[in-house]
């Protein structure tokens, strides 16, 4: 069975030539990961995507007709970058726009994976929340404060949509591996190998040489092994690179933890078959006695205004610690804004004798508060006196007018925990509809 991974992240691009190459032989399934928590909590909170709409549309518009033509189900995971309902609808809208433009018709499966606060609260009260780290326990308050909470669904809802013969599946927040493991398991292949292949393929040609998250990877699943070969003939897959990629962004290179269970990679073998192909064996799937889903939630903590400046006077740089303290005290004593309602920090970059980059970072309960704090700090830095000062016209160079920039809403992760579940489908809401008919 042949499965194609378009690229490491939908909207990061891939070569059209590689896609054509991949589709020059029979393709059974196509997948692409469309999101990540790497860009931080803002996107889940704001409902916006960190990927660009135009770039996402381009990546989809080339692959959709090819997948449909070959009747290869096309699975897209973590829609819109963060996978909430808003993000999923955003991606579905793009898919439908392409369908209209290219006159395509297909069965569209949609998976929503949002959970409401009541669900999480009940899990917490029932003792069914497991922290990912002891440093980050879950409180009722954190749940209450959360703006959006999603669950990372596994293969279960995807399997259900494959059974219903969906041609294109757009999933909300989903495990990266579920995109590629679900079709393999659906076709009856070994779950250990399926998850292992999925773990490597979800990053596109990231395990190839030359390395590229933005290119097409091909996976060939067999009964006792799987093989990986990049679609682009100028790239090759090496045993070493594939093995190394297994540990990427994982805490433990010998174990992959999934909602369904753990994949033990201690006996994995990576064998070079030809110059561009690696054969991988040995992964063992151990079903979890207790199934869990990971929950991700964010809360709004305020609004941010920043100002960027540079200092080129060694004497000013030498006195920067003094200036920072003076300015912070000044801001505190010269405003009626309560100190609990804002956070002011100076982030410094470079810091050689001859230049220091300064980022004034003000986060306030409201945008107005952030503006006031940033503005006070900026004007006070500019004219702050210090011992032996000669450059008394100004302490900092501002590259822009206006100097102060609205960054807008600031979110923080409030929930990043496992929930013990009765069914791995209990958070998923599945929808299926005909498009273009």
């Amino acid at each position: 069975m042949k499965i194609v991974s378009l690229c490491g992240l939908l909207g990061y691009g891939y070569s059209e030539e590689s896609l054509n190459k991949a589709f020059s032989e029979k393709v059974d399934y196509v997948g692409v990961d469309a999101g990540s928590t790497d860009p931080g909590p803002y996107y889940l909170g704001s409902g916006k995507s960190f990927t660009d709409r135009g770039a996402v549309k381009r990546d989809l518009s080339l692959a959709m007709p090819k997948a449909l033509e070959q009747k290869a189900p096309f699975i897209i995971g973590t829609a819109g970058g963060a996978g909430s309902k808003k993000h999923t609808d955003w991606l579905v809208d793009i898919v439908k726009e392409i369908a209209k433009e290219q006159n395509l018709s297909f069965k569209l499966g949609i998976i929503y994976s949002d959970v409401d606060k009541t669900y999480v609260m009940e899990k917490l009260k029932a003792g069914k929340i497991v922290p990912m780290s002891e440093t980050f326990p879950l409180s009722e308050e954190a749940i209450e404060e959360s703006e959006t909470i999603v669950s990372q669904v596994g293969i279960a809802p995807i399997l259900s949509l494959l059974e219903q013969k969906a041609d294109i599946i757009v999933a909300g927040r989903a495990c990266d591996t579920a995109i590629y493991a679900a079709p393999c398991i659906y076709e009856g292949y070994d779950p250990g190998l399926s998850f292992h292949m999925a773990k490597i393929m979800e990053c596109g040609a990231m395990c190839a040489e030359p390395v590229a998250a933005a290119d097409v990877m091909q996976g060939y699943m067999e009964k006792d092994y799987f093989e990986l070969r990049p679609a682009n003939p100028t790239r090759k897959c090496s045993a070493e690179r594939a093995a190394a990629h297994t540990m990427y962004e994982q805490t433990n290179p010998y174990m992959i933890y999934e909602p369904d269970g753990a994949i033990d990679l201690k006996n994995s073998k990576f064998e070079q078959i030809d110059e561009r192909t690696v054969r991988i064996t040995g992964a063992v799937f151990n079903e979890a006695a207790e199934k869990t889903l990971k929950l991700e939630g964010v809360k709004k903590v305020g609004y941010r205004t920043i100002c960027i400046g540079g200092i080129y006077d060694p004497l000013t740089i030498a006195h920067f610690d003094y200036i920072e303290k003076t300015v912070k005290d000044f801001v505190k004593n010269n405003t009626n804004i309560k100190s609990d309602d804002y956070m002011l920090s100076f982030r410094t970059y470079g810091g050689s004798e001859s230049s220091l980059g300064v980022l004034i970072d003000a986060v306030g309960k409201t945008q107005e508060i952030a503006d006031t704090i940033c503005s006070l700090a900026r004007s006070r830095i500019l004219h702050c006196d210090y011992d032996g000062r000669k450059s008394s016209a100004g302490n900092m160079a501002f590259p822009f007018s206006p100097s102060d920039i609205h960054v807008g809403e600031v979110y923080e992760f409030s929930v990043f925990h496992l929930a013990k579940v009765d069914s791995l489908s209990e958070t998923a809401v599945i929808k299926i509809e005909e498009v273009g008919k």
Binding site: P41, E134, F136, A243, P253
Partner: protein, 98 residues
């Protein structure tokens, strides 16, 4: 000798928003063993001002690598965090004397 002088690849990255993970890869098993003998949780805890009990060191022999993981000081994207992806946190580890 510093750890970076022995390593072929030395990188940091988020392992989810709560953890930071470091991959240290070596040309051969010999270099890896040498690095391992000079590396300790104590040194890492000191370099990152973190609790020693939270540090995990896993040897990944298949590709002559060592993986170090511990909780982030600030969760990714939180107010005081200065590296959302966590990909520029490797230098204190790189500079550890072994």
């Amino acid at each position: 000798m510093k750890l970076i002088d022995l390593a072929k690849i030395l990188r940091s990255k988020n392992a989810g928003p709560l953890f930071i993970t470091f991959d240290i890869m070596f040309d051969d098993a010999e270099k890896m063993k040498k690095a391992l003998s000079g590396l300790s949780k104590e040194k890492i805890a000191k370099a990152y001002n973190t609790d020693i009990e939270n540090i995990s060191i896993i040897v990944y022999e298949v590709v002559n690598s060592i993986k170090v993981t511990f909780p982030r000081k600030y969760i990714s994207g939180s107010i005081y965090d200065d590296d959302v992806y966590g990909c520029q946190q490797h230098m204190p580890l790189a500079n550890i004397e072994i």
